[in-house]
């Protein structure tokens, strides 16, 4: 256990909301610029959450807020374990737990819109989960350890051997970041055929917690992307940080240039990607002696 492994999760807990705000805010500004609009201030996500906190307190039932809170907590735990250099499999499982708890919160109301949104989110989980697992397995085959710490300080950049897995991860990142064409469950944009999908029945403080959860989630996901470039040197860390931001901008571009797809397409394409890029990459690793 190194000092770094204590400092970095603490930094995550404190800094992730700040970075998350900036990320979500710049996302909205970049999106606006891509549509030739001026866009909101960069701190807009923060204003939104503060506004939501000051709204009247009211929920559709007693448990919804609790589920959302648990979802937020497990998201933070996911990030803490990841940035502490913990076990990648555990990280993946708590990540899923957090996503599932959000679904449970949506299902706990009687609203048909929330139900459809939650069902679609469920399809998305089905779609991206194999690729997330292959990411963990690929990193294991590459480095011989599931520990993030060992992978990050392994001496070689995982990306050199795991290009296929990296491409697959970027593909499913579109789903995890809730971006078009795979923003089936709920979206920040004005697609309104489902009112607001998963978040339809969340309001005020509950919705604010969902937003904060997304900030934590996005920073964790970018950390996962950056891990592919870490080789224990300062250059690797710098490269990882720069490229995970680039990947995010790329996702924003995809978001703005695609319409929403059907869940069947999402499922098929994500599984195909997982099979070809994920399994293919791991097979190649094995074929050439790991």
């Amino acid at each position: 256990m190194e000092l770094f492994q204590i400092i970095s999760p603490v930094c995550y807990v404190v800094l992730a909301p700040l970075l998350g705000i900036l990320l979500a805010g710049s996302d909205r500004v970049i999106t606006a610029r891509m549509q030739r609009r001026k866009g909101p201030p960069v701190l807009q996500p923060y204003y939104d959450v503060r506004k939501l906190m000051s709204k009247e307190r009211s929920t559709v039932n007693g448990v919804q807020e609790f589920y959302v809170l648990c979802s937020l907590i497990f998201m933070v735990v996911t990030g803490i374990m990841f940035f502490a250099g913990g076990n990648l499999l555990l990280v993946v499982f708590t990540l899923t737990l957090s996503a599932v708890l959000l679904l449970v919160a949506a299902f706990s109301s009687n609203s048909p819109y929330a139900h459809i949104g939650a069902e679609r989110e469920l399809y998305l989980i089905m779609a991206y989960e194999p690729m997330v697992l292959f990411t963990a397995i690929g990193l294991y085959v590459f480095s011989g350890s599931f520990d993030v710490y060992d992978i990050a300080t392994g001496g070689t950049m995982p990306i050199l051997y795991l290009l296929g897995i990296f491409a697959g991860l970027v593909f499913i990142l579109t789903m995890k970041l809730r971006k078009s064409p795979f923003d089936l469950g709920s979206s920040h944009h004005a697609h309104q055929e489902l009112v607001k999908g998963t978040t339809t029945e969340f309001s005020g403080r509950t919705l604010a917690m969902v937003e904060v959860m997304h900030w934590y989630e996005n920073i964790f996901l970018l950390g996962l992307v950056a891990l592919f470039f870490f080789d224990g040197t300062l250059l690797g860390y710098a490269l990882g940080t720069a490229l995970c931001i680039l990947v995010y901008v790329f996702e924003v571009l995809i978001d703005n240039s695609f319409a929403r797809m059907k869940w069947q397409t999402a499922l098929k394409s994500a599984w195909l990607v997982a099979l070809v890029l994920g399994v293919g990459n791991i097979a190649v690793l094995f074929a050439f002696g790991g």
């Binding site: 001026k38 506004k51 709204k55 009211s58 004005a190 339809t200 309001s203």
Partner: protein, 149 residues
């Protein structure tokens, strides 16, 4: 400083409008006017909305719908009636099914005149509505501090 006025999310409902005002409301979202620069999000969900923008008049059929949307919105909230139809029924006021302006069923805070109301006027109306929203937020805050009566 209040965050309510920096992030007003609005829901738009089309009463029995001729669609003239609706198109002007949508024009506010275009790059030309871009209301998102004020932090405004056009949402379809009353539970997320702070501002209720109604175009067109109230008729016998949509009166319950308007009341329901208004009821689902959380305090503090503001109602903005856009166009003459929403204010008084306008050219449709003598129709057998039309009840009149929006204020026949729910309290209206801001009236935006015009047939159709211009996007500039609508944005102006929303900004006026923000002042009222801020006052209402202070009321909510105060009543929360004092606790339930």
């Amino acid at each position: 400083m209040s965050f309510t006025t920096r992030s007003p999310w609005l829901i738009h409902y089309d009463g029995s409008s001729c669609n003239g005002c609706d198109i002007e409301v949508l024009a506010c979202l275009t790059p030309m006017y871009d209301i998102e620069r004020f932090g405004i999000i056009h949402t379809g969900n009353p539970k997320h909305a702070d501002i209720f923008l109604v175009t067109g008049s109230v008729n016998e059929q949509n009166a319950p719908v308007i009341k329901q949307i208004y009821g689902e919105m959380l305090e503090p909230k503001v109602v903005i009636a856009v166009g003459i139809c929403a204010a008084s029924g306008g050219v449709f006021r003598r129709c057998y099914n039309v009840m009149g302006g929006i204020d026949k069923v729910i309290p209206v805070d801001v009236y935006v005149p015009g047939c159709a109301a211009r996007p500039e006027a609508i944005i102006d109306g929303v900004v006026k509505g923000l002042e009222i929203l801020e006052r209402k937020r202070e009321d909510v805050e105060r009543s929360r501090k004092e606790g339930p009566k």
